[in-house]
Symmetry: C2
Subunit: 291 residues, 2 copies
């Protein structure tokens, strides 16, 4: 990892935030800023530096997809999966991290409560329809993981169906990875107190009232059940091909920098190249000059 914007990081963000064997969500401090060696006042500058790198890597990824890939292989794409409790900052990640690259290279999908039509199909049906095309950066604002999170906590499906889904997710993500999509799964982790402060701010500011939903308070009662459901998700679906990253998110500036670096590292590994011309450059210069 040689990114310029990497220089203020004391370690490999991916290694530090990755959910591995023995991971316990309850041991993660949502207010921590692992591996970032600077304070909040430098975060904005560092985010901009990272944005410039991300911008070029995204354009290369897109450009590369315009040429044929190896036999049986799609040109690569990236899929960022965002999961979190309400107010944890998914929207801010989309706006400030993803929003810094060319929107023509991004495909956003926000998954709300399933429609009656969606409920008639397998839970992955609506997900498959929103996968990023080759060369694109896809972003899932919520995802198929809702079906084993709220699905489990609110008992929206029978226990054996919930159980079946972990395996189905792993198979699905494996197939996706094999066909060229790099999956970056992120849980933004805030504390209940931080959520309370953020909800209170929505109640105190008239320009934020529309973001508040009385149901959010009811959902807070279920916090421990959600944390248990996340812990199970991590144990069952943090795989070699699609690991989870838990990003401490009480400090929004840290969470944005960290997710930006997870994306940067993923793209650097893909190392997309400007495709060579599939036409005769010298001949085209002559033709063009003659017009």
């Amino acid at each position: 990892m040689t990114a310029k914007s990497q220089k203020h990081w004391s370690g490999d963000v991916r290694a530090l935030l990755r959910v591995g064997k023995g991971f316990r969500l309850s041991k993660v401090d949502p207010a921590a800023t692992p591996a970032y060696g600077r304070s909040k006042k430098h975060a904005a500058d560092d985010l901009i530096a990272g944005s410039d790198e991300l911008d070029e890597l995204q354009e290369r990824l897109y450009a590369q997809s315009r040429m044929p890939a190896d036999e049986g292989q799609e040109p690569p794409s990236v899929l960022l999966v965002l999961q979190a409790m309400d107010t944890a900052g998914k929207g801010g990640i989309i706006r400030h991290v993803v929003g810094s690259v060319d929107p023509q290279g991004v495909e956003l999908a926000a998954f709300k409560k399933p429609t009656p039509e969606e409920l008639e199909h397998d839970f992955l049906w609506r997900i498959e329809k929103r996968l990023p095309a080759p060369g694109m950066i896809g972003v899932f604002d919520r995802s198929h993981y809702e079906d084993v999170l709220i699905g489990r906590v609110r008992e929206l499906a029978p226990a054996d169906e919930i159980e079946r889904r972990y395996g189905a997710i792993n198979d699905f993500e494996k197939k996706l990875t094999d066909s060229g999509t790099r999956i970056v799964k992120v849980m933004l982790h805030i504390s209940p107190d931080e959520q309370k402060a953020r909800l209170m701010e929505r109640l105190e500011r008239p320009d934020k009232h529309w973001k508040y939903n009385p149901g959010d308070v009811d959902e807070r009662e279920l916090w421990p059940a959600y944390m248990d459901a996340y812990q199970t998700v991590f144990e069952r679906t943090s795989t070699d091909w699609a690991p989870w990253y838990v990003v401490p998110a009480n400090r929004k500036w840290y969470a944005r920098l960290a997710v930006q670096h997870l994306l940067l590292n993923t793209l650097e590994e893909l190392d997309p190249q400007w495709p060579p011309a599939d036409y005769d450059v010298a001949a085209e210069k002559e033709r063009l000059a003659a017009t």
Copy 2:
């Protein structure tokens, strides 16, 4: 129009660029910078100032759509239609103007050569499927106008069918406007020489080779035919409810500022408001505090 970023404009951009009676495309200087009183070196700062305003207006538009609109009326949306000859800068508008707002409030649709399935349907079939949802800013990178531009120039449909389409477009856009969508139709106007220089740059820079297509040179031969087709489009489809704007685009910095202002003026007219709470704010504060 009281926008802060408006202060360096000597006139109403919309009035100046709007296609009205007696408009002749051939009289428009693609290198002009109408109504903008400053030089290129200030353009970047002015674009940023405008971005901040656009950002807030977009968020208000989105927020407003979360509350019910008047009976039989959808909450408003905005649709920016971009048409231009190759290299005129549609991509730059999307990246630098539209890309400055929250991507969660934007729906992009790029219309390429129709698929066989699309060709089996009326030309508006694929268009209707990509209209922006209420509260969103939709952007069409090419549009239904291709069906009366390349469609006419390359004779992709019988003459009477092309003829029918102008009226069909006007009816379609009227219905759309009546149901709450503000349509902003922009043609980015460059000169043939400017296009030549831009294509040559793509041939000279290996990181731009992928953007060059030998067909672009063939299309240049048809320049006068395209200009005629645009002139006819303007005469037949610049309506009171959905007028065309022709934006001189030889200077990219001017075109971006001008389109930004067309969007700003449209949103200022809509004047979207933060929706009031549809719950008891004081009671919610108490409930939240008790958690």
